[in-house]
Amino acid sequence: SGGEDASNEENTSNDSNAEESEADDEKQVVTFWHAMGGAAQEALNKIVEDYNNSQDKIQVNAEYQGTYDEALTKFHTVAGTDSAPTMIQVFEIGTMSMINSGHIEPIQNYVDKDDYDMSGLEENIINYYKIDDKFYSMPFNSSTPVMYYNKDAFEAAGLDPENPPATYEEVEEAGKAIAESNPEMKGFALQAYGWLFEQLLANQGALLMNNDNGRSDTPTEIGFTEEQGKSIFNWVQNMIDDGTFANYGTNGDNMVSGFLAEDVAMFMQSSASARNVIDNAPFEVGVAFIPHPENTEREGVVIGGASLWMVDGKNQAEKDAAWEFMKYLQTPEVQAEWHVGTGYFAINPDAYDEQVVQDAYETMPQLRVTVDQLQSTTSSFATQGAIMDMIPEGRRIVETALETVYNGGGVEEAYQTAVDQLNQSIKNANTARGE
């Protein structure tokens, strides 16, 4: 299966990695910090490996630094010292924090110097990472959430497996049908994950933060209306009342396992999981767009994942070398491999034409859906995504609120608490910055 392939490739790559790092005194070394664990780390290592083998001037050392959060904290601590890396991978919501740190060099400098064409990238991605008309970082691994569903279960419940529910209401109905046909199975699971909440907001055209999601000015409070925000909570509440909702708390792995064990028929999760889910399911897996309330138009999704940052204070040769590597990562071949290996998007759409991708789609047509959803997104402030340095904290506030509802707390109170805390958090962040 897929796992085995990956491991074989990894085997060879790792060995040569060790050899090379010893025998390259003249090579320009680039230190690349990342937060990719598990299968993604395997894929990343392979790419770095190939790059190092493909030329003899630059040696990239990819070094794991823990979770996104830990890697970022660590960067903040070493920024400005010799221990700082040449480049670092930071998740999308760390963008403002990186800009504010003052220890990075906007990627735009290199784009301009090199006359590098960024327009080939996915529109969504450009939308997110272009801030004040400037690229601060180089997009790299991007994902969006999709809705996975159990086609076999759909069939058994008399639903059309090729026509998955698109709205909250349809999801609810489908859930009921499924629960009816199979009392052992719940209809829908929503991991208590702030990112998913953000996406569900965007899909109904709502802003997360005011001031156009922070794109026109620093946000001062939340940007969604009570109706928009509550719709998600209510949706969940309805399903709980129907007894069709499966609660897996904040744990994504539990949820996927539950889906694979046929305890639940639908769930939302990052597209990055697609390969994994499809590979491991003993039934037919369907992938669909994430749902939206019936009374709104589907607006689309915000790009997630992470981008690569150039660290300031290194000598130019080193930074140039890092820039070379970043460009390499954008090439269609690399992106194709990355896309297929992990489930992250190819940020460079040309990659979809690559043979590997075509082959993969052949066997797993579901992978396409993730791309379709991205490409059919309407461009707006809502889908451009919010930028603000307190979003990580905001996510935890929302997660707590969701869990409260999952566990029988009232929507009204949970929602209100979350909003208050979010606003407070925004205020704190602004005060801390001295604004």
Binding site: H76, N100, T250, S257, E393, N407
Partner: protein
């Protein structure tokens, strides 16, 4: 004669005082010498951070941890009005309440069992102390699987008995209990070993004497073993107590503080504030409060405990 004596004594008082002083200085220097390596390292790696933490707790910080705005006691005010922190406090206390007695009682039970002179007892001792060799990271992985809602063994066993599956780590009513359970398991190995060591160093003549007196197994346990073990027990309790207040690994790996902050113990909350929310000021304030709480409780424990403890 007696007059003479008094005079003599008068002469000496000054000398005594001087001699005493010299001796005191000498012994003080010697004490410090023995403690010096520890003191230096403590200063660098504990006191300095502690003072820095105190300092930080009066400021707001940017994401790199640099101070930006002085806010005085505001951080403290804020966290004491924050339901999140109050929740953390409650959770922490509950966690301590579950794990400390749990660990000590289970370990004591095992240690007493394993203290018997039986054939093959070494194997049992090894097994009982084995959890000590299992890192928090590995142990959390083990338990994460056991607690797994669908494929985990616990739920599968429950299913066998026809009991409904439990959301061990997702149900707010269960999560803390589950984390406590796994924590007790992780701590048992070491606590067991310490207690066994304590048991073994009780002089055998005490038991011989009691045997002759016709004391029963439990009588000996209550009247000799436990009191003679009291220094060890005191140690174990104090340390478990402090460790429980500082539990981090398993929370990080098993629940990340959830669900609904039901397992968000203070240390984890500090980690979140600092590592995820970049609120070093608030994190520092929480750390200070945690420090003060543990300090006070330990003080109380020493005051109450050391008196009850019997040293040879």
């Amino acid at each position: 004669m007696s007059d003479l004596l008094i005079e003599a004594e008068k002469d000496y008082t000054g000398e005594f005082l001087k001699a005493k002083k010299v001796q005191r200085t000498k012994s003080f220097l010697k004490g410090v010498l023995f403690l010096l390596p520890s003191i230096i390292l403590f200063s660098v790696f504990l006191f300095y951070p502690l003072f820095k933490t105190i300092y930080l707790s009066f400021f707001l910080t940017d994401s790199s941890g640099a101070t930006t705005v002085f806010v005085g006691m505001n951080n403290f005010k804020a966290i004491f009005t924050s339901p999140l922190f109050l929740k953390s406090l409650e959770v922490t206390f509950l966690f301590v309440l579950y794990t400390v007695p749990g660990t000590v009682i289970v370990s004591l039970f095992l240690a007493v069992l394993a203290n018997e002179k039986l054939r093959g007892i070494g194997i049992f001792r090894t097994i009982f102390s084995s959890t000590m060799g299992i890192s928090v990271a590995a142990a959390s992985v083990f338990w994460m699987f056991l607690f797994h809602p669908t494929i985990g063994w616990l739920n599968q066993i429950l299913e066998l008995f026809g009991v409904e599956a439990i959301g061990w780590l997702t149900d707010p009513d269960w999560a803390l209990i589950s984390v406590s359970l796994s924590t007790i398991w992780m701590n048992v190995g070491f606590t067991f070993l310490i207690l066994l060591g304590g048991l073994q160093s009780i002089d055998s003549y005490l038991y011989e004497s009691a045997d002759i007196d016709g004391a029963s197994y439990f009588y000996k346990l209550r009247r000799i073993t436990i009191p003679m073990l009291s220094p060890t027990l005191f140690f174990v309790i104090t340390v478990s107590f402090i460790n429980a207040f500082q539990t981090f690994g398993q929370v990080d790996m098993l629940t990340r503080g959830g669900p609904q902050n039901e397992t968000n113990v203070i240390v984890y909350s500090i980690y979140q504030e600092a590592f995820m929310n970049y609120q070093h000021g608030a994190a520092s304030a929480q750390a200070i409060i945690l420090f003060v709480i543990i300090l006070l409780l330990t003080l109380v424990q020493f005051k109450l405990g050391e008196r009850k403890v019997h040293y040879q």
